[in-house]
């Protein structure tokens, strides 16, 4: 087991109230495994990834829960141990590569810093020549042509696809064991999306990385992952092997989510799910999906359902299966 998150709560404090975003999330990830997290925008997917690296904004706090990475509780690590993990074990690809690159520095400066810090933690102080060679190597890994030009560019001078490749290169440098991909293709156009996902897929396989792919593009998650978690309003609704989840979804939310995906074979667009995400500062006491659920029962309103194992490796949190 590489990563095991159990009963994780994340709150955001604001001046007037507290937003209770993650509500007892669990997740486990084996070495070399590829896991997907799906759910609509605002369901806490990015928050979950950020809490793994402990890069929540300052108003974010974790009142309860445990994130075990490689046997260590990330939430209790000293900052120097955490730095080590951030520099050489876990890499993260961010949603918007334009925003995730510092606009006032050339790619060269940003990439070299990351390379240098990683090598320094391994007890090696690289020369600028070594840095250059490393950079060229990693750029050819992510299929970036003309490394000299890219290194000398500012982020705004690169196209969206190139920026995302640079981001991936940076994430790969520090991803020794685990790669977190936070909607890596949302800001790209469709043809590039496919290339980028295949690239991530191939690189992760080559380097034997475990990956967590967060996305709301269900088709991609279906192709790229072994297991999937369905996150809704900060609650894990369902966990299953990817094929089982898409062919036999158990949770009403998953069923509706899968059904609302437009398909080429069907006529028109899917139904969608009526209603919207609950308010995080005053969320439903029981199941957070209850207000929108077509099968809602009285007990759903007041108490949160427990995890129910419906099949091998298929867990659902819903009273329908209790």
């Amino acid at each position: 087991m590489l990563l095991e998150i159990s009963d994780l709560y994340v709150y955001y404090r604001s001046y007037w109230y507290t937003l209770k975003v993650l509500n007892g999330v669990w997740l486990r990830l084996d070495r070399g495994e590829r896991v997907g997290i799906i759910g609509e925008s605002g369901s806490g997917k990015t928050t979950l990834l950020k809490s793994i690296l402990r890069i929540l904004p300052q108003n974010g706090m974790i009142p309860k829960g445990e994130i075990r990475y490689d046997g260590k509780n990330i939430l209790k690590l000293s900052s120097s141990e955490l730095t080590k993990i951030r520099r050489r074990e876990i890499g993260m690809i961010f949603q918007d590569p334009m925003a995730a690159l510092n606009p006032v520095f050339k790619i060269r400066d940003q990439l070299y810093d990351i390379l240098k810090y990683k090598m320094m933690i391994e007890g090696h102080n690289p020369s600028s020549r070594e840095l250059y060679e490393e950079a060229v190597k990693i750029f050819s890994d992510v299929r970036l042509p003309d490394p000299d030009r890219v290194l000398e560019s500012y982020p705004f001078q690169l196209s969206g696809g190139m920026r995302q490749r640079v981001m991936i290169a940076m994430a790969l440098i520090s991803a020794g064991k685990l790669l977190l991909a936070d909607e890596p293709t949302t800001n790209l156009d469709v043809t590039i999306q496919d290339q980028i996902l295949k690239l991530i897929h191939r690189l992760a396989a080559q380097r034997n990385l475990s990956t967590i792919l967060v996305s709301h593009a269900l088709g991609m998650v279906y192709q790229m992952t072994d297991r999937v978690y369905v996150l809704y309003a900060g609650d894990i609704m369902e966990e299953a092997r990817t094929r089982d989840l898409f062919s036999k979804p158990k949770h009403p939310y998953t069923q509706l989510l899968v059904a609302s995906t437009p398909r080429l074979s069907s006529v028109g667009v899917g139904e969608g799910i009526k209603g919207k995400l609950p308010d995080y500062h005053n969320p439903p006491a029981g199941c957070r999906f209850a207000p929108r659920c077509p099968y809602v029962m009285d007990k759903c309103i007041n108490t949160k359902p427990r995890k129910i194992q419906v099949n091998r490796e298929h867990i659902v949190s819903c009273y329908l299966y209790d």
Partner: protein
């Protein structure tokens, strides 16, 4: 490889070329405006005169205690370009030494104020929502809420009135503005994705403060610094003018204006010179500030 291969040489040349090009880009942006070139050259000339005042001034000894009543009240002539004052001292020589004091004042105040304010501002912005932020921001609020000149005057009057104490007083009321500036920029940048990305790569707090957050703000800070340089002179002159700054016979421009203004309008050349000196130095820094702003505005 063995020795320096052709590749290696090429690589080293590339590195040099990159450095050269960075400077060329900065210079290209700066020189687009003729006025900023003018400002820069004015400052260089003034700085030169200040450093080599002993050689530039026709009568270096006139800067201090020098009395020759037979030469007093002479209007501008070839011998004394800007005339002489009531003690027979050459006004032009005194102005040249006045520039030296002016640059010393600027250097002293800004080297105290800018690092203090910027570092505190960065820290306060980075640790937003903690007691560190509260302490720094409230403290600077307190200093800002006092009228600057009154504070400087009261401090200068409690302590012995001299140029050094006056500058300390000015510094004391000045640093909060740099805290405010960097704090507000840091707060808005703090949760930008690229800062989080840097954190996720394992960047240290120091790296984030000084290599991510500071460089973005550098343009704004530098522009403020150059514009403030003019203000330091002005405030220094104001304090000296009311007699709490530099004491005669120190050839400080503000002190000179205040001393010589008693002899207006008959002996107009006495106060005209130092006043023009003040205008010149403030103008030069303002023009330079505009140029620096243009350099960073392109980024």
């Amino acid at each position: 490889m063995g020795g320096t291969s052709i590749q290696e040489v090429k690589f080293i040349e590339l590195e040099k070329k990159i450095k050269r090009e960075n400077w060329r880009r900065i210079w290209f942006r700066f020189k687009k405006s003729k006025l900023s070139i003018l400002g820069l050259s004015m400052i260089l000339v003034l700085l030169f005169t200040a450093i080599f005042a002993d050689y530039v001034a026709p009568y270096p000894s006139h800067a201090g205690l020098y009395i020759a009543f037979k030469n007093a009240y002479k209007p501008p002539s070839f011998e004394h370009i800007l005339g002489t004052d009531m003690y027979g001292r050459d006004v032009f020589s005194r102005i040249v030494f006045g520039f030296r004091y002016a640059f010393m004042m600027i250097g002293l105040v800004l080297s105290l104020v800018v690092p203090t304010g910027v570092i505190l501002g960065l820290i306060a912005g980075y640790y937003r929502g903690t007691f560190i932020e509260t302490i720094i921001v409230r403290l600077s609020d307190i200093f800002i809420s006092l009228p600057p000149l009154v504070l400087a005057l009261s401090i200068a009057s409690i302590l012995e009135p001299n140029i050094f104490n006056a500058m300390m007083a000015v510094s004391l009321m000045w640093w909060p503005w740099y805290v405010k500036l960097t704090y507000s920029m840091t707060v808005s940048l703090r949760n930008e994705p690229f800062i989080l990305a840097a954190e996720s790569q394992g960047a240290s707090t120091l790296h984030i403060l000084f290599k991510e957050l500071l460089p973005i703000q550098l343009g704004t800070i530098l522009t403020k610094v150059t514009l403030d340089a003019g203000w330091v002179i002005l405030i220094g002159a104001a304090i000296s003018f009311v007699g709490l700054g530099a004491q005669p016979p120190t050839p400080d421009l503000g002190t000179m204006v205040s001393e010589y203004s008693k002899y207006l309008p008959e002996y107009w050349w006495m106060s005209l010179g130092p006043a023009a000196g003040i205008v010149l130095i403030i103008l030069a820094f303002n023009l330079l500030g505009d140029g620096i702003r243009d350099v960073f505005a392109g980024e």
